[in-house]
Each structure stands twice: as C-alpha cells, then as structure tokens.
Symmetry: C2
Subunit: 380 residues, 2 copies
C-alpha cells in the first residue's frame, strides 16, 4: 500500500430543506456581503433561488448576483465576475448551481489573490489564499461540491485545464437531492457517468489496496443501481439521494487514497474533445472514451481489470465486462461512439494534439500522442 | 434517506516514514511549544519516540513530556496533565499512542477552556474552543485519530462516558502502519473487533441507504479479510495498512451518514463492564456483547439483519450469520462469553445498573435496564 495524504475539510449539509440553512452557515464565518454566482436561471424555476435569498435575508447578509456561467465555464466570464466582485467588496462567494458554477467560483476565489485567474491553471504553486466559498449544489455529477478542483476553459487559447489547492475546498456545501427531481434525463445520466468515471480514474491506479478498492467498488455499484432506479422513476427520492451522496464521495479524496494518483487519461482526452467541441457535455465524452481506453490498456495491468470485471460486472472476462459497460451506457441512452458526439475520424488528430498539449499522462502506461490517437480510433 | 451532516477536517498522513513529518506539520500552525502526551513507554521500544523527538528538534519545537496514560484513561491523570500543561504554557498537544492517549488528549485540549475536565462529559454544549491537537497513532482500533470523540473514565464516580465536539478533531494525524508490526496478537484482534463494532453500531441504524450501507459492508469485509491475513503473518504490511485505513474510516463520520445516529447499545453496555472491571479491554467486552445484542434485537428490524447476514456472512439466515460471527471471533482468539472476561452471572445487575445510569438507548428498540440484563444474560 502506497503512502498517501487525506484532507477534506468541507462541511456537508445533506437532505431535504437544507438550503434554508445557508444564511446561518455564512453567518458563522462572520461574512456580511456575499457574491452569488449562478448559471442560466434554472434555479429561479425550481425554487432554489427563492430559498437561498430568503435565508440570506433572514440572516442579514447582503448579496451581489452574477449570472451566466456556462456548462463548460470560460475564462472571460470568470474574469468579469471577479471584477464585479472586487468593485462590490464582496467577502466570499456563494456558488448556486452545478459543477460548472462551483468550478468557476473556485477559480474566482483563488484568482482574487493572483494577477490573473489563468495564472492558477498554468502554475498554482504560489497560491497562498482564496476567498471563502459556500456552495448550494443543484446537480450531482462533478463532485466539485466536495473537493478543491476547478476546470476552466481558456477560450482564447482553446485550453480546458484543471487546478486545485488546499485553499479551494468549499467551507460548506449544501446538497438537497430534492431539487434534482426535475432534471432532464440526459443530465441525470451525465451526472452518473461523470461520477463513475471519477471513481474509475482512481480505481485503476490500484492493485490490491483492499480498503480503497472495495470502497470504490461499493460506490460504483451504488451509482449504477441508483441510475437504473431513476430510469424507472425519476422522482425516486431515495435513489436521487443515494446517488447524490455517492457522486459527492466519488471525487472527495476518499477514492484516491493509495491509488498512485490514479490514471486520468480519459479525462485528459475528453478535455481535448470538449475544448474543440464545446457543445459536447464532459460526461458524454467520458462515456464514449472510457470503454475505448480500457480496451486499449487492460493487457498492461490485467490484475486490476480482472478485479473490476468480477466485482463490478460479475464476469471473469474483461472483454465481457467492457461490453456490459457499453451496454449499460446504451440502456441509459448515453452516447457510446464518437459519431454520437458529432466527432468524425478526421477530427481525431486535432483532438489528440489538444489533449497532448500538457504532455504524456497515465501510470499503467505513459500515454503519448500516438496512444491518444489509437484510443480515439477505438471509440469510432 | 434521512438528512445528515458530514464534517471531518482532520488531515491524515498515512504510510511508512510519515512520523518524520510531525514537526513540519506543527510548524505550519505556528506552534512553538507542545505538550507530548504518551502511555506506558512502548513508543520508546518501537522507535516512535525517537522519530518524533528528532522531527520536533529539526523544526525547533519545544516540548514537555507527560507519561502514564492508562489503557482505559482516567480523569485524575487527565487533570494532572492539564495542570502541567498550563504550568508550562504549552500551546497544543501531541498525542503519541493508541486510542486511550488520543482520547485523554482531546479531553485535556477541550478541558483547557472549562472549569474542570469532567464538565465536558456531563454537558458539552457550551464548549467554544479547544487547544489544537496533533496525533501520532500507534494502534489502529478506536478511530480516535480521525474523529472528535473522547471516552474517559471518572474513576471516582465509576462513570465511563464519552463526549465529542467540532473543536476536538485532530488537526493532523499520522498513521504509520509499520509501527504496528510488533503488536501482541491480542491487541491486533482487539483493534479489529473495535473497528468492526464501530461500523456495526452505525450500520444497524440503516434500512436501505445503499450508499452508506455498501461502504460500511466494504469496510467490514476488508477488516475481516486483513485480520485473517495478519493471523497468518503478523508482519504483512499490506494487511496492516489496509486494516489501519479501514479502522480509521470506521468511526470517521463516513459510516454514520444517514444512519439515524446508529444504535450504540453494545458500546453503552460494554462501558458498564469496563467501568466495573477496568482490566477488561473495551474490545473484549464488545466481542462478547455484540452477538448477544444481535440475537436479542434482530426480530425488531429483520430487513437490516438479513442484509447483514447476506453481505457480510454470505448466508440468508440471521441465526447462521450470528454463529459465523462468533466463530470468526473464536478463530481470532477473542473472548465470546462473559466468563472469558471474568464476569459472573451475579455481576450482571451491577453492570446493567452502571450502563443504565445515562438512561435508555437505541433506535431499533429503546433498551431499558431489563433489556440490558437480558442482553448480558445472552452473553453468559
């Protein structure tokens, strides 16, 4: 078992009606004026906005609203937001939304202490502080509500990159699964695929670390089971809630303990896709790429893929397990081929080039440009 | 799924050689003088003391040593320690040892802000602060390295009680499983039983919370598997490490999410035993009582005990699962009857009376004095 660090100071309030506590939680930090960051306005339809504002008012917290975070959040919007935040002397950020809102909020919180936000993504080593971040999460997928990571797209340089720091864990995150009851099916599935991918990216870094591997298997089995249940009844609160908690834990640090940093090849190549095809949802790219990567890599470390086949897919055959994985994605109406994303064979070199901008990646086998091309070809 | 809170800010450094980092970690908090609390001296034999002191010296941290914490830590010793700490103006505590040292350290850290340490255990509601706590853990069992709880015995009133507060999470805990390679078998088994009991006390509070229940099952299966492996080879690092991490997680808050507070009946009755029979190790009392409690209670909530039988013991019969549980404890040479602890039938009323001092307990069925007597009788 490899040495590791575990640290996750985010306080989670989980369950029905918990949004009403946000004002009190912010008050506990002595914060009087907050920057409320949000997306396109869905929170005005599902009651989240009203509950949030009501709790802020009761606790005498002033707020400044800033809307328009995109599904793949972009640098220019984050820069604008930071300017407004500074102008209004806000002391902290309240992110109300899904992973993109939370990710952009983290970039702003940390960017507050840098010359420019993008400096964080090119080199985060000198970060020494960040504004406090509070979260009301409305979509279970990225796990951003319970980790320190932020993914942002620099649309000028076509870079979709990530950073993380011990300063960018949310102080408090509220997860009320009830507000997800009315999500379109596509978003529910994308959340499921994203969460499963986070566990898998860590899992395959392991060999026989029984403690972490068995927790990871438990999480994935729960996610598959609950997405199956939601396919039958999207208003099943029990399934929503169990999924929401598993998705939060999937990238909380718990799944990466002793996993040698995990693999993250699929995420990297996917960022190449969604940097060039901004309409492709991150999870849809992951759905297409994950089985292709496993096909390409499993012979380099059969022990872990054999265990994966047995404990997730109930089969001794890795090939059989890959097929079951693809079949499950199809059942959920997730895309399983590049063509489903509108990506063609002759786009592959550009995608690989974009993904390779940050160099080789992966521990099982270091994945270079040619490997990326080959993996993308397996996804045709 | 019931609403819940999750919060655990303890930073964990896990693995070989990590004790060398303690000075740097303390330095990060700007602490210049620390109170080093320890037990009977085993840390001088296994090299832990030398590594600790060396790291403190390198980082120019002064320390004051205080020895003699007992396996069931007692109030008078904690009071003495606090007096010495005050006299020497120490800014924080470094607990070096197992659960008893860590528990007593928490009581001192929080007691620093009270008139008397025992006030914490009678009523912890008014606690507003605690001294920072750092931990070098040498025995995986209680999970105290990764939670806020402290159990202390008031030997004057024969009360073995617990308290916990958001201020008493260790800032940093170091878990180096290598220092546990030379533990006597009895202590390894007691650690395993203690950790399993922590998961079970939470687990049986559930019904069908797939996320938490499946993580709890994964933890218990890992603990059983690794203790079995250690029975074959006590120097198996992989098994020591996987066990150590599972035991830390067992009472970290992760296992209690949405579990309605768990049950904790067995812990309460056990505290009655070890308050009156101080030579009985906590885990030995738990080993004897847990199967007895399950026999007594399972018909009140068969759904969860059926799941437990299937997913932990691979059987559909709850009675069969209880027998397998007892058989496993016997294989490990753990006690399975009250007589193995030196407790006789006519001691039962006194034990039940002591355990009932804090009133009824339990959610499946509220357990009163008579129930406690009946459970103890099933353990004869």
């Amino acid at each position: 078992m490899e040495n590791f660090k575990f640290y996750n100071p985010t306080k989670i309030l989980f369950g029905k009606g918990t949004i009403n506590n946000i004002g009190e939680e912010i008050n506990n930090f002595g914060i009087k004026k907050i920057f409320l960051l949000a997306g396109s306005g869905s929170i005005k339809k599902n009651g989240v906005y009203d509950q949030t504002i009501s709790s802020l008012k009761i606790n005498n917290i002033e707020w400044v609203e800033f809307w328009g975070v995109q599904p793949n959040p972009i640098l220019s919007h984050a820069r604008e937001a930071l300017e407004v935040l500074r102008k209004n002397n806000c002391e902290a950020i309240l992110a109300v939304g899904g992973g993109s809102v939370i990710d952009e909020a983290k970039a702003i919180c940390a960017g507050y202490y840098k010359n420019d936000i993008w400096d964080l993504f090119e080199d985060d080593r000198e970060l020494t502080n960040a504004l406090p971040l509070f979260v009301i999460q409305t979509l279970s997928a990225t796990g951003s509500e319970m980790n320190s990571y932020s993914v942002l797209t620099n649309e000028f340089e076509k870079k979709k990159w990530a950073f993380g720091s011990r300063f960018t864990y949310p102080k408090v995150s509220i997860i009320d699964p009830e507000v997800q009851m009315t999500l379109p099916w596509r978003q529910t599935v994308n959340g499921g695929v994203d969460a499963i991918s986070h566990v898998f990216e860590n899992y395959f870094g392991g060999i026989d670390e029984e403690s972490t591997l068995s927790i990871n298997e438990a999480l994935v089995r729960t996610i598959i089971k609950t997405i199956d249940e939601l396919k039958l009844d999207e208003k099943n609160y029990k399934a929503r809630a169990n999924f929401a908690w598993s998705a939060a834990l999937a990238l909380s640090g718990l799944t990466s303990c002793s996993m040698r940093g995990g693999e993250w090849v699929v995420h990297r190549i996917e960022h190449g896709i969604s940097a060039l095809f901004p309409d492709v949802a991150h999870a849809e790219g992951l759905a297409v790429l994950f089985p292709a990567w496993i096909k390409y890599i499993y012979n380099y470390k059969p022990i872990i893929f054999k265990r994966w086949a047995q404990n997730i897919w109930n089969t001794d055959s890795i090939e059989d397990a890959i097929n079951k994985f693809i079949q499950k994605l199809s059942e959920w109406n997730a895309p399983t081929k590049l063509e489903h994303l509108g990506v063609k064979e002759n786009d592959i070199p550009d995608i690989a080039e974009n993904a390779f901008m940050q160099g080789e990646i992966g521990n099982i086998k270091s994945i270079n440009y040619d490997d990326m091309v080959n993996i993308l070809r397996l996804a045709l």
